[in-house]
Structure formats: C-alpha cells, structure tokens
Amino acid sequence: MLNSLFPAGGKKHIHPESGQALQLRNLTVRFNGLTVLEDLSLRVERGLRVAVVGPNGAGKSTLFNVLAGLLQPSSGEVRVHGHLPAQYLCLAYVPQSSLMDWDFPVSVRDVVMMGRVGLIGLLRWPGRSDQRQVERSLERVQLSDLANRQISQISGGQRQRMLIARALAQEADLLLLDEPLAGLDIPSQEQILSILADLKQQGITVLVATHDLELAGDHFDRILLLNRKLIAYGTRSEVLTVENLGLAYGGHMQVVDTKQGPIWIGDIGGHHGHDVEGRHG
C-alpha cells in the first residue's frame, strides 16, 4: 500500500536502448534575478564521455543540478533519455566529495548499497541480488578489499571510486560527476579515468565537470565549454580554439604565440589557481 502512495519506491525504470542521452532546449536558470545559465541548447549522444569545462561560476554545478532534477529551470526544456529529469531514475549525481560528512558511521559497502535504496523499494530489505550488484560494483572500481572500512578511513581517490560504485549499484546509465579529479594525485586520477573508459564500453553516458582543460582534451570524447552560455560543444579540435577559449575565459586567459604554435595560459580558477596550457594546431 505504501508503494502505491509513494510511486517512485521500488519501481524499476526501463532503460532506453538508443538515442539521445540528453536534450536541452533553450535552458535558462535564474537565481534572484541573476542569470546563471542562459539559453542552453544541446544534444548529447548516448555513451559518450563529456568533459564540462568553464571558469568558476560558469554554471557547471547548476547545470548538473538541473539535469539531476534537483533544480527547476526558469525556462526551457530538459529531457534525460526522453524523460523529465525529476522522473528519471537511472541517473546518478556524484557531488563534490568535500561536501559530504565522512564521519558518518557507515562502511564503504553501506554507501554503495545506498545506491540501490530506490530500486529495493520501501519496507523491503536488500536481497541477495542487491548484495550481488553491490559486490560487483565494488569490484569494478577495485574497492572489494576495503568494503568494510568506515568511510573516514579511505583516501580521497578511494572515496571518489566508492561514489562511482554507488552510481553503478544504482544501475545508472547517466553519470554526473562534479570535479571528481580535483585534489587527487596522478595515479588516483588515472584510475578514475580508466574506470570512466570502462563505463563507456557499457554504453553509460558520463558528464564530468572539471577545471583541467588538458585532461578534458586527452581523456574525453566531447568537450562542453560553458560560461553562463554554451560556448561550444564538440570534439577537442572543434572546441579548444583560441576564439572559444577567449569567449569562455575572457580576461582570465592569455594566448602566447610560440614557435610550436599558440599556448593558452590562464588562471582557470579552482582552489590552487594552477596554470593550464594546451596546444592549438
């Protein structure tokens, strides 16, 4: 009876087989008269890895919040696999891990199981198939041996992998990762990038917000360059042009001509304000 009162509980969503993962039409978001996202129109094919880049305050987190159904757009249309965001179940949003309470008394396995709470449904306890799914998800991010650890006892990279495992346990086919690589050492970053490559094999669409343009160019199928408006969306060579980057980063970006071609140097923001360079050929 409770399940009919709360229709979302325990309902398995039918995953669509093909087509567009994301469709945005004239998406606009305003807060207190301030326009955060303006007139975004975009189609993202299923199964792509998309890096969402742009300066601080470009609206990356706002975009993710809208896609996850946490925030209502002021105007425009959003479809996730053809559905309204708030109706779509197979979407996982992994927020910046710095925002979570890591002292909470749960283990790595407990957190991954949380991804299945919606599928298990109200008034039911996890069954054997849920446990199997959780173990498989832990395996895929290579965290099986740390499954019983309390979550304060694992490293930043392991936390990020745990949150990806949670998304896998959720059987999500669209992942939104907000700055998953920030503050991680190179091996941890590479581990996560290889997991993302693995997800691509299974037709899972991944959107990753990042500050790192070089990484975005090297490891992603598409780049979405954002600064309140959509500056460009496409492959690396289509998006990372002097004009586009100038539009996105404005005064924060400098183009220096060298013998090897132009190099962009900019304060891309982030907490360290590190320089990022790339080549335009």
């Binding site: 509980g9 996850a68 179940l89 407990d110 949380m114 709470v117």
Partner: protein, 289 residues
C-alpha cells in the same frame, strides 16, 4: 562472611523492586531510554539537537490544554502533547522552507512562542500547577499500569517504524541529495522522522520531564558515536547505555532520595564523560608514541 556480603547486595538490589511503583517506573524508564536513544542516533548524526530541545519545550501548551480538557488522564495528555509537537515541527519546516528565515531561527521562534503559550495557560489554571510541574521535571514514580501499557505500545511502534524505514532514514541523514535523485519521497520521510522524534519526546515526559528530555535523545547517542563507527552498533550501544542509566538513576533516586529524572540524566552524563575522558587519554597516549 562472603555469603552475608552477597545477601546484603542482593537485598540492596531487590528491596526497591518490592514496590510496584518502582517496578513500573523501571520498566517505563528503560523503555523510553531505549526509544530516545535509537531516535537520538539520527538526531545526533543530523545535528538536530536544538530541534529536539525545541520540540520538548513546545509541547507544554499541549499538556496544559490536555489537562484542562481531561483533568489529567494520561492517554489524552499524550495525544495533546503529541499534537503540539507535530504542529511545532510542521510550522518550523514551513517557516524555514522558503529560505528567508534560517532553520535555527525558525526553531527559536516556534519553541519560545509555544513554551510561553504553555506557561501562560498554566498560570491561568494555578490549582493544577503542581501536577503540571511533574511534566517539567518528570514523575516516574507516579506511573500507572495504564501508562506502562501506553509506553510499551508507543515504544514498540516507534522502534518498528525505524526498523522499517532504516535504509531510507539512514540515506536521508547521510546524503539528502541522493535521496532526491533516487526519487525517494524525501519530504514525507523527513516529516515522519521528526514526528518520531516528537513521539519519543512525549513518551519520555513522565520519566524525565520537558526540561531534561533532550539529554535522553542526545547523550546516549553521542556516547555511542564515540565508541563505534557502525550505525547499527551505535543504536544498540546507545539503547544499552540509556537502559542502564535508567536503572542506575532510579536506584540512586531510591537510595539517595534524588529527583528521579535528574538522576537518570546524570547517569547518562556520567557515562558520556567517562567515555569521552577515556578517549582523550587514549588519543593523547597514541599521540606521544
């Protein structure tokens, strides 16, 4: 000599149990201790101790009206008090929802307003003021058989609901954003959890009173959180600490003639201090190595 010592001990422990009011008091104190401790784990983890304190004070007008309406029938007092608590928690969430008033401000406004209303009502019915003072400081030894049944049924219902929604409540406390993206009914669950907190508070009134009930919610759960990083174990430990403190407190109140509610809370506080000090010493020893 050994046997006389043991006999003395046994009679020291059993003497209070010769009185039926002590048996009833012990039973009720342990039950509400357990319920408050389990609900309190969520209160502590969500950092909502202030809301718990506010709810316990906000039920005073419900008690006053209930007293006027039913001349002190404890079942009807229970429902009036619960009504006041639910009304307060709903108004707090309605006031703070738009974001124009912060939640702790909303809590302060509702809590003080309701408490003042309760005091105003009580002051107009001066003849009942003595009985109502029991609700401020508890009157565990005045528990009737009917109260025992009511407490037992209510406690069982609260524990069953927590058990049934354990995974949802835990998820909601750890990551409310995930609850939304999993399309859980987060708002109804949120309200259910605060109603359960209100019920735990109301059912504890006779044991410890309005003024001290927040200690039953917070102290055993906080003690347990120092001892384990596993939520299920934390709930069990908190319940054990609360039940043990109820027994110790009631015996202290019997032998040393201390107010029973205060004695129970002091027992909880003593356990907390012991655990906290123990951990301070341990971590400073570890730091030295």
């Amino acid at each position: 000599m050994d046997t006389t010592w043991r006999d003395a001990m046994v009679s020291w422990l059993t003497a209070p149990l010769a009185y039926e009011f002590m048996q009833r008091g012990l039973l009720v104190a342990m039950l509400v201790g357990i319920v408050c401790a389990v609900v309190g784990c969520y209160v502590v983890l969500r950092g909502m101790a202030f809301l718990g304190d506010a709810l316990s004070h906000a039920i005073l007008p419900g008690l006053a009206v209930g007293y006027l309406a039913s001349a002190g029938n404890s079942t009807s007092l229970f429902w009036w008090a619960l009504g006041a608590a639910v009304l307060s928690s709903v108004s707090i969430s309605a006031l703070s929802r738009g974001g124009r008033i912060k939640q702790d401000t909303a809590i302060g406004i509702v809590f003080a307003g309701m408490f003042a209303l309760g005091i105003a009502l009580i002051s107009t019915i001066r003849s009942y003021a003595v009985d109502l003072s029991h609700f401020l400081f508890g009157n565990i030894l005045g528990v009737t058989t009917e109260d025992v049944y009511l407490t037992a049924v209510v406690s069982l219902v609260v524990l069953l609901i927590i058990f049934a929604f354990y995974k949802e409540f835990t998820l909601l406390s750890f990551d409310p954003q995930l609850a939304t993206t999993l399309r859980l009914p987060d708002r109804p669950l949120e309200i259910l959890l605060s109603v359960l907190t209100a019920v735990a508070i109301v059912v504890s009134l006779q044991a410890v009173g309005v003024a001290l009930v927040v200690a039953m919610l917070v102290t055993p759960a906080a003690t347990a959180s120092l001892l384990t990083k596993n939520l299920r174990r934390m709930m069990l430990l908190a319940a054990a600490i609360a039940a043990g403190s109820a027994v110790v407190g009631l015996y202290a109140s019997y032998y040393f003639n201390v107010a029973s509610g205060a004695a129970i809370v002091l027992a909880c506080t003593a356990v907390f201090i012991a655990v906290w000090m123990g951990q301070q010493v341990r971590s400073s020893l570890r730091g030295r190595n």
